[in-house]
Every structure is written in C-alpha cells, then in structure tokens.
Amino acid sequence: MRKVLTVAWREFRDTAMTKAFIFGAIIMPVISIGLFVMIIPLLDSEDEPLTGIIAIQAPDDVADEIEDLLQNAAHPLQEQLNQLPDIVTNDPIAKNMLPQATETDLVYKRIPMDVEFDEKTLAEEGYVAFVSVPETLLTPMSETNTLEITVPTNLSVDHTDFLTRNTETAVVNARLKRQGHQPDAMRELLKRPNAIAMRIQEDGNVESDNELARRILPIAFMMLLWTAAFTSGNYLLTTTIEEKSNKVIEVLLSAISPMQLLGGKIIGQAGVSAVILGMYGSAAIIGLLTFALFDIVTISQLVLFIVYFIMGYFMIATMMVAVGSAVSELSDAQSLMGPMMLLLMIPFFLWPIITDHPHGTVAIVSSYIPPLTPFIMIIRTTSANDPLMLWEILLSIGVGYLAVLAMVWMTARIFRIGILMQGKPPNLWQLLLWVKRG
C-alpha cells in the first residue's frame, strides 16, 4: 500500500502543486473575476448623459408627452428592478451591474407640421435627433403605425434606443388621452399579477416553489461534478501518455506492479479532483451565502453529491487511464476519446428534459446506464420537487458502483497490456480484445 501511496503522492504533487495548475485552476479564475469587477465601473462611465437639441415635429399633445418622458424616463425594466432583494441593490458590485436610467440635458425645438425640415443639416445645427410623428399615427385603426427618428452618425445605440422607446410610449400616451383615458392608470390595470406556486412539502408544510433553484441547481451540481471529474481525468490521460512516451514506465514497472501503478495514479488524481471540487464548490457556497440562497441546498443533496462525485470520478478516471495506456502520443488518443466524449456529453443534452420531468421515462432509464448514472442522478435529485424514492437512489448507487468495479477491472486488463505497447494505437474492438486477453 505504501508504494501505491508513493505513486499517488507523486501524481498529486506533479499535477496540483505545479505553476501550470495553480495558474490555470486558481489564479486565472481570480484574475477573470478581478477583471470583471474592474470592467463594471468602466461600463458605467461609458453611459454619458444625452445632451443637445431635439427637433420635434409632432402634434402638440405628442410633443408634450415626448418632452415629459425624456425628462423623467425610468429604465424600461424598472418594475423588475424594483423587485430585486436589498442584498443585490445595496451591493456595490451588483448595483453597478444593474441597468441604470439614462440621464438627459436636452433642449427641445418644436418644428411646425407644415415646415420642411432639412435632415441633412442635423449635425451641423447641433441637433441630437429629429423626431417626426405624423397626425395619422394618432388616428385609431390607422393603416400606418411607423414613425421616423433621424439621428446623427455618432449617436450611441443606447441613446438611440432611449429616444425611439420613449417616443413610441409618448404616441401611445397621447392616443389614450385623446380617448379620455389616463395612461398610468391603464398601465396599472394591465399589469399582470405575480402568481406564486405554493407546494405541500413532505412534512405537511406549505412552501413557495423556488423556480430559480429548480432550474439552476441541477445544472450547477452536474457541471461541478463533471468539471472536477473530467479535469483530473484529463490529467490522468496526459500523465499516463507522458510516462509511456518518456519511456519511464519500464523503470516504474521494475519497482511496482502495473496494478500498484494504476491504483496510485487513480488515487493521486482523485486528490486533484477533490482540490478542484473544493475550490469551485467553495466559490459556489460563498455565492449562495452572499445572495442568502444557501437554504436552497439540502444536506441530503450534498451527501448524495459526494456519493455520485466519487462514482463519476472513478468512471471517468478509468476510461481516461485505459485510453492513456493504450496510446503512445496524445494525438493518437483523439480517435478513442471521440466516442467517450460523446457519451459523457449526453447528460448535457438530457439536462432540460430531466429537469422538467425528473420522474419521466428518459430520466429513469438513463439513471441506470453507466457512466451516465452519477450525472443523471445528480440532476434528478436536485430538480425533483417530490424527492426520489429511496429504492431508486439505492439502486442507482448499487448499479453505479458495480459499474465502477467492472470498469476498474477492465481498465486494469487494458492497462497491463497497453502500458508497454508502442506504435500504432488500437481501435475500440482491439481494446475489447485486450480486456478478454489481459
């Protein structure tokens, strides 16, 4: 066992305690977040106030509405923004990320309806826009429902959007007032109520449905599991190929058996996987705590996550090490990795279906197909409103870990033969023959 641990420690040390790993797995994400945080104030500083003269050629009531809206316009998503929790609106970083209302300092020049306005002189005369609203646009059931706003070349997209949006609203307001309605009152009447689904829990309590958790949690858990297992599995592939191509493998096999080497490598990279999981998992927990959403994760989900993570890691690791031992160059691994990657991408394709129907046929059948089991089960356990039956969880764990044992056994047989092979890599059929022969 000591030799296995010696191999495991080297595998861990030479992967996780290297500049490349520290840079790629720790420093890069930190730099990315740092850049993100730094860019937000820069984005904010880009939102200059809209200043200048606006020429308005419109019926008086419409022109009044336009002036009023441009001076006092709120952001179009203001209603939704008002519903955000205080923890978001009070957070200096999050606050900066929210859309802000456009500031204006405008002078309005009304152009009589019968005057021809030369749009080409717009920029020369210092105008920021020429708004033209024909009277016909206010007539009910009018055939035309288009108005034009002419702006100079250099007006920003945001400001152009601000002008068009508020002019459209101004026309609607004027139409409503001509019909004797109050626009604000009408808008209030048309506002859709917010229906909250209340669900009866197992303990009989009634709690509101957390749609966010139901949508985000499954993919977040699965991504975490997949990333941690696949990243270290990838390291396993490259270190195995490196040992073969460096010809150091025979030196190792003079000191230990192939099984000790295989065991050490898988244990060592499990440590790497745990470090990755720990880092990203901690970041996720900090995020949940920041937004006071930690209660959307249950202890049983965390326990099951660990159980399925170990299962998923061993499945990916054994496949990777089998491929790594069978080829001599990384480029040779591509042909064997293709079908494997396709298989491992299936949970991503099935995620939306399983999230919506965690007890559906697709979800149930795919739960018992290794190596999909851990990924599908983690989606199901985090997306189902009514918890999965205990027997389903136990059966998936049984099937999954039996599959792990079978995969370790098959990989050991491939590893024993492949590790000393050089030259042309085998195809999938030959790998199966190695399993039989090994």
Binding site: K3, T6, V248, I249, V251, S257
Partner: protein, 316 residues
C-alpha cells in the same frame, strides 16, 4: 553456488514472432554474467520476463527464490529504453524510484549525493532531468537502478549511447559492485565488452540459448588448439615437429597459425620453438566470443545463418 535466477522452459511469442523459445537458464549467485546475442535475439524479452514486467506464454521464472514481483525491492534494473520524468529534478527522480523500492530517510539523500559524485555528475541534483544530456540522463537512471543497494542487478545494454569515458566509469562501477558480492547480469550485443568484464556468459540467438557457461570454460571448450608464431624468417617449416598437424599463413601473411595435434601440450611446444628458432613472438590463440558465437550459429543453423550473424555483429 545457489541459482539466483532460474528460467524453466520459458517461451514468449509476439504475434507470429517467437521471441523466446523453450529457454532454460540457471544463473548462479555472485556472478557477473553477460547476456549476449545480436539485436532481436530475445535478450530484452527474457530480461523483462525475469523482471515480471511481461509474462511468459509458457514455463516459469524464479528470481531470488521467488517471483520477481515479490523480489522487486531486491533487484536493480536498468531497462534498455531509457526514461526519466523530464520535468522532475534529478534528486527527486532518484529519490522517487528509491521510495518505490522501499528506501527512505536521510541516509538516502546522502547516498544520492555520493552516487552523483561517483558517476561524475556533481551539482546536477537540483537540475531538471530535461536539462541533462542523454549520456547524463543515462547515468542518472543507472543510479536510480542501484540506489537501493540490491542483491541482484540487471542491466539491459548499460553502455549503449555512452561515450568511451562514461563507458569506463560505468564499467568500473559494475566491476566494483561485483567485487562487493552483487550478482550482475547485463545484456549487450557488443560481445567484446562482455569478454572484458564477465565471468560467465549466456548467449542466445533467435530466442534459443546457444551458450551458458563460465567464460573460462567457454574458451576452453572452444579452444582451437592453435599457436600463432611470428618467425624472423617466413621460409621455415614447423610441420616437421611431431606436435604440429598443419601450418598456415595468417591473413596478414606475417605469421603462421600452427594447428596442434590433439595430445600436444601447447606450453611445452612454445618453450621448444622459442628455444630453437629465431622468432619475434609466439602465443596461444584464444578465440573471441564473436568467433565462438558465429561458430555456434553455424553448427546449429548452418553457414548462411552464421554469415548473416557475422554481418549483424560487425554492424553493431
């Protein structure tokens, strides 16, 4: 002497190629044994089977009285294909291999320093393996194979790729280790190297054993019963002597080979010729291992095979 390695009726086939065929060997403890043969003879395959890195199709091998798998900590092995972790530091690499052989502690660090000095690689301990030349890497790997002070040392082509100076350094260490009582087996296709340092040889060709004996016995058994004499006057006839069966000029045509009768005593004859005839030199002709090997191949496989082997050895 107890046998340290027993190879019993071992065969190994790769696809259509029979690499080793019904091989039987018994290597006594304490010998410095040359494992000889041309390229592709089956040397490395046999050694890998001795190390339990690969397994025979049939037959069995015992090393140190057990399977090599159970005796790995007591065997030092330098494979034919050299390999190191390129990014690993030299000291860390040797330490890692020693750890895998069950050796740890502060003494190990001192041993690593001592061995690096001994192979004339002082100051490379902190360097990465990839910063070393091939020859230096080979010496590092040699240290890794013996750092755990094994009882049995198996070296597969230890001198290939080394310059004459490094060959001498490694050769003298092998000699010292043998003097300390280690059993050393080393394979080579350069038969002359083995002739210089081995006290026992095993020759194989095409997976079959050709010779397995002490080097003295090999020479004795393949004694051509020849004396080479360089007379001052080439017009002399030695066939008048009763011990001389026939006389022939050497290739260089400056000396004679005298073929002796079966019961002749070469020492007495040398004394007799030296006392009666003006000569520049006289000596008993000892066959080289290359000649013995080619003769053996000729005996078992015919002259064509012997010719091919001669060419192969000449190009090695």
């Amino acid at each position: 002497m107890n046998a340290i390695i027993e190879v019993n009726n071992v065969s190994k086939t790769y696809g259509e190629t029979k690499a080793v065929s019904e091989l039987n060997l018994s290597i006594p403890s304490g010998v410095l044994c040359g494992f000889l043969g041309p390229n592709g003879a089956g040397k490395s395959t046999t050694i890998r089977m001795m190390m339990s890195i690969i397994h025979p199709d049939s037959g069995y091998i015992q090393v140190l009285g057990t399977s090599a798998l159970d005796a790995k900590d007591n065997i030092g092995y330098l494979p034919e294909e050299r390999g190191v972790y390129r990014k690993m530091r030299v000291g860390t690499f040797i330490q890692y291999i020693a750890n895998l052989k069950g050796i740890r502690g502060s003494q190990l660090k001192r041993d690593i320093d001592n061995w690096l000095d001994r192979v004339e690689l002082p100051g490379v301990k902190k360097k990465k393996c990839e910063e070393l030349s091939k020859g230096m890497q080979q010496k590092v790997q040699f240290i890794a194979s013996i750092i755990h002070n094994p009882e049995l040392i198996i070296l597969d082509e230890p001198f290939s790729g080394l310059d004459p100076l490094n060959t001498q350094t490694i050769g003298s260490i092998i000699h010292e280790l043998h003097q300390e009582g280690k059993t050393i087996i080393f394979s080579t296709h350069v038969l002359q190297q083995a002739e210089e340092i081995c006290d026992r040889i095993v020759m194989i060709d095409k997976g079959h054993k050709v010779i397995d004996d002490d080097i003295a016995h090999v020479h004795e058994a393949h004694n051509p019963n020849l004396i080479q004499v360089v007379p001052l006057d080439l017009n002399i006839d030695f066939t008048s002597l009763p011990e001389v069966e026939r006389q022939s000029l050497t290739k260089e045509e400056d000396a004679y080979h005298l073929k002796l009768t079966a019961d002749a005593d070469p020492v007495k004859l040398i004394q007799s010729i030296a006392g009666s005839t003006p000569i520049k030199g006289i000596e008993i002709v000892k066959p080289t291992l290359t000649e013995i090997f080619i003769n053996k191949v000729a005996e078992t496989e015919g002259q064509d095979a012997a010719k091919a082997t001669r060419e192969q050895l000449a190009h090695a």
